[in-house]
């Protein structure tokens, strides 16, 4: 034991001696300041400050390269001690440039923006799932001003950054520095191709709109009298504002946050107001288009999906050609929606606007008959979009469907679209409860039928038609027969004389959540009538696929729709895309517009040699937002929703003049004040007057 201790001790002594001698012989003058600083530092050599050990940190502090509070291991006492050595004072200072994950929001943001219930909207967003960034609620710190190398940004009179476009080079420094992701770089291509992503701050209406229109921005533009801007904002995402302003079932209004405490904002009629303003002003407000690249793309079907796809492709610089089997463009907008809801003149004006962007149209060209996929490819079309819609009516599958006087619902509307009147008798029965059934009923009434009855197998509550359509039909004296299903069509000498129906009652809910109607045995009743019109559903007519060898392989679902990716429109044949009713089954114009845009994006990416699939973070619909179940202190409260002026019923009979007249400028402006200009969780409160409620949003430039 003693020996070992001596051995190690000797080794230690030898080392110490060596060091001692070396220290004497090789002594170096050290700056006393460095030594003093080093003495004040903890000496842990942890390296957390970024310097290699306390000695080098002391050197850096003494030479002024590092601040006195650089030590992360020692805490504030060490900082004070070092500062004393250096003869400086430790005070709290705002950072020059705000940090990326800035946490000022709870202290400063409420001055500019009021969060609803929760202190920080990002915390709330995390509870709702997924990362969120707020693009409203600038803190006014001016980080963007400081990092801009070109001096292009200044803080304006409202305390918000203002960009001088002539100096901006698009370097993106401001975008990186902004602690709240409010400043965004954007470009035309980005705006056309970008989808609403789950990290964007989206108002509920905007998140719901299938076309992803920036609703709060255009409502604000109308409110400030900037009608041109409003049209531009709408056309960024919707090529058919005149149409949608008239026929859209406005799912956005169902999600409107004001609707939680009173009636929702009349979003759709504000859109119509802006669109009508453009049409009545006589000058077209066209969106920005990229320079033409002369690459040819074919669009089969001139309905809303095809027109939307052509519109976005034209804006991206392509040369789209629309092939339409009917004599006019518009698809179901022309041949499905009656004149009194959407005048053909208005539709023509809107379609002309799309054609003016450089879209070519070829009418009376049926696929499989006048051209095929192969012939399109040979003509040099690099990508093909199939938007053929749902044009075949579903049959009633009851006895007597071949009797004279039984009509498929779409046929009559198509005839009307071609300005032909279908002769109808005095008593007409419409089967079905959707918008097509309402259109048929109201058209028959206008064509002179005295007694129009709608037969629907469930109750009014379950009707899929828009509430306003049902209400207008009632105003026009249409009879409704709920809980009744046709069982037989009866006739004499091949001519229809009546319809036998059975009464139903509601049973257990089915897969769609609606209660399933169950027939009541023995309740069959005969209803005398001259015409029966079946409007119980439509499906795509894909007969052309069989006549087209190249399209034979196109995958089709069991519902006879094209089997395409709903998010990107891609089919199993590369370069062939599809969207709208052709893929989803009969749906709304605004959904077809959204599908057309998604397909245009996929086609652009396909033609650029990129992956055509859709990004997985785009917002498909409203997200459940917990905590916002009511809107207390919404400003201004108690103002009624603008009511659309209408033609009175006496003037409607026998005429197809448009029923809805459009909001007046005064009404529209008043209605914009009801908009809460929501963010993800926040909305305009009572104590914030509208006039003071102005901020720059990223994408309305």
């Amino acid at each position: 034991m003693l020996f070992e201790a001596l051995a190690i001790g000797g080794l230690g002594l030898a080392s110490a001696l060596g060091l001692g001698v070396a220290a004497k012989v090789f002594a170096v003058e050290v700056d006393p300041l460095v030594e003093a600083v080093e003495g004040a530092l903890p000496g842990a050599n942890c390296g957390g400050c970024g310097y290699a050990g306390c000695a080098s940190a002391a050197l850096a502090i003494a030479s002024g390269k590092a601040p006195a509070n650089i030590c992360v291991g020692g805490g504030p006492e060490v900082a004070v001690a070092v500062a004393q050595v250096m003869g400086v004072e430790v005070v709290y200072r705002e950072p020059d440039v705000s940090q990326v994950d800035c946490s000022y929001s709870t202290q400063i943001a409420p001055l500019k923006y009021k969060y609803d219930g929760v202190q920080d909207c990002r915390a709330a967003a995390l509870l709702a799932g997924g990362p969120k960034m707020c693009d409203i609620g600038c803190l006014g710190l001016g980080s963007c001003v400081k990092v801009c190398p070109f001096g292009a940004i200044r803080i304006g009179s409202e305390g918000l950054p203002v960009v001088d476009p002539s100096l901006c080079t698009g370097c993106g420094n401001c975008e990186k520095a902004c602690p709240k992701s409010i400043i965004h770089l954007t470009s035309v291509t980005r705006r056309i191709l970008g989808f609403n992503a789950n990290y964007n701050c989206l108002a509920p209406c905007q998140a719901t709109c299938p076309a992803q229109i920036d609703i709060p921005s255009y409502i604000r533009a109308i409110g400030e009298g900037r009608y041109d801007d409003a049209v531009t904002i709408i056309k960024e995402h919707n090529p058919l504002p005149l149409v949608c302003g008239r026929v859209c079932p406005h799912p956005c209004e169902d999600q409107c946050r004001r609707g939680k405490s009173e009636e929702p904002v009349n979003i759709n009629h504000l859109k119509r107001f802006a669109a009508d303003y453009e049409m009545n002003s006589g000058k077209r407000i066209q969106p920005f288009c990229l320079p033409k690249n002369e690459r040819k793309v074919a669009i089969v079907g001139g309905g809303p999906a095809g027109l939307s796809c052509a519109y976005y492709l034209a804006r991206l610089g392509y040369a789209p050609t629309v092939y339409e089997a009917q004599p006019h463009l518009g698809g179901m907008l022309r041949y499905g929606i009656p004149e009194y809801r959407l005048p053909k003149k208005t539709l023509d004006w809107e379609i002309q606007g799309i054609l003016d962007l450089g879209v070519e149209a070829k009418m009376n060209m049926g696929m499989g008959k006048d051209f095929t996929l192969e012939s399109l490819r040979q003509e040099g079309y690099e990508a093909i979009f199939l938007g053929v819609g749902c044009w075949s009516s579903r049959g009633m599958r009851v006895e007597g469907e071949d009797l004279n006087g039984v009509l498929p619902g779409t046929d009559m509307l198509i005839d009307r679209g071609n300005l032909k009147d279908t002769p109808v008798g005095e008593r007409v029965v419409i089967i079905g409860g959707g918008n097509t059934a309402m259109d048929c009923a109201r058209t028959c009434w206008r064509l002179g039928a005295k007694e129009v009855t709608v037969l629907y197998r469930r109750t009014e509550k379950e009707m899929p038609a828009n509430a306003i359509e049902i209400e207008e039909a009632k105003h026009e004296g249409i009879n409704f027969h709920f809980l009744a299903a046709p069982t037989k069509l009866v006739g004499e000498n091949g001519k229809l004389t009546g319809l036998q129906y059975i009464k139903m009652e509601l049973g257990e809910p089915d897969a769609s959540g609606r209660r399933r109607p169950v027939p009541i045995e023995g309740s069959e009743t005969i209803l005398e009538c001259d015409n029966v019109i079946a409007a119980i559903g439509q499906f795509p007519n894909l007969a052309f696929l069989e006549e087209d060898a190249a399209a034979n392989d196109l995958a089709v679902t069991k519902w006879n729709t094209i089997d395409a990716n709903v998010d990107a429109g891609t089919t199993n044949i590369p370069g062939v895309f599809s969207g709208g009713d052709t893929v989803t089954g009969a749906a709304t114009a605004v959904e077809a517009i959204g599908a057309g845009r998604r397909a245009a994006r996929a086609m652009h990416r396909y033609l650029s040699g990129e992956d055509a699939e859709a990004p997985d973070n785009w917002v498909h619909g409203p997200k459940e937002l917990p905590m916002v179940t009511q809107t207390p202190d919404a400003a201004p409260a108690g103002r009624p929703r603008a009511k659309m002026p209408e033609l009175n019923v006496a003037e409607r009979s026998g005429s197809f003049v448009e029923v809805e007249l459009g909001l007046t400028e005064e009404m529209a402006k008043a209605e914009t004040q009801r908009c809460l200009q929501c963010g993800l969780y926040c909305y305009r409160h009572k104590d914030q007057p509208y006039e003071a409620w102005k901020w720059e949003r990223k994408d309305n430039a």
Partner: protein
Amino acid sequence: MSFGDYMLFIVSAILVNNILLAKFLGNCPFLGVSKRMDTATGMSMAVIFVMVMAGMITWLVQYYILVPLNIEYLQTIAFILVIAALVQLVEIVMAKSLPALYRALGIFLPLITTNCAVLGVAIININEEFDFVDTLVFSLASALGYSLALILFAGIRERFMLIKMPKAFQGTSIGLVVAGFLALAFSGFAGLVGGH
């Protein structure tokens, strides 16, 4: 050993048995001085220098002091003592006689005094029963492996400055996560060289 054997030996020490990412020695400076590329490079140079020096001295201490005196079980304490004294000595001498080199390396030297990678290499040298030349080569190769890992890591961490990082991940947290990934990546070299 032939030249080919030495090559295998070196590749094995740098990649397969990387002292940092496979043996997990010397993690403290690995996290501490990897924030900037220039400090990481300086640290690497100092490690190469000290590891080779320490490898030689400890080999001599082992075979000329501990073994003759029959006190091999005091290896750890003796090595620590010798390495610490050596590093200090080198620092003092360098500060006076080679001020330029001292400014480049010297400030990193005190950090290495307590670096377990240096001690680890010294002990491995003995455990593997290397002769003096093997010790020299192995110490140098291990130090090169250490430098490679440290510089790679610093390069990655410098890029973190440019991105938006959630607060919870900032600093050492993401450093640890990335260190784990690097170790995983290096584990892909396992089996590259048979034997070791």
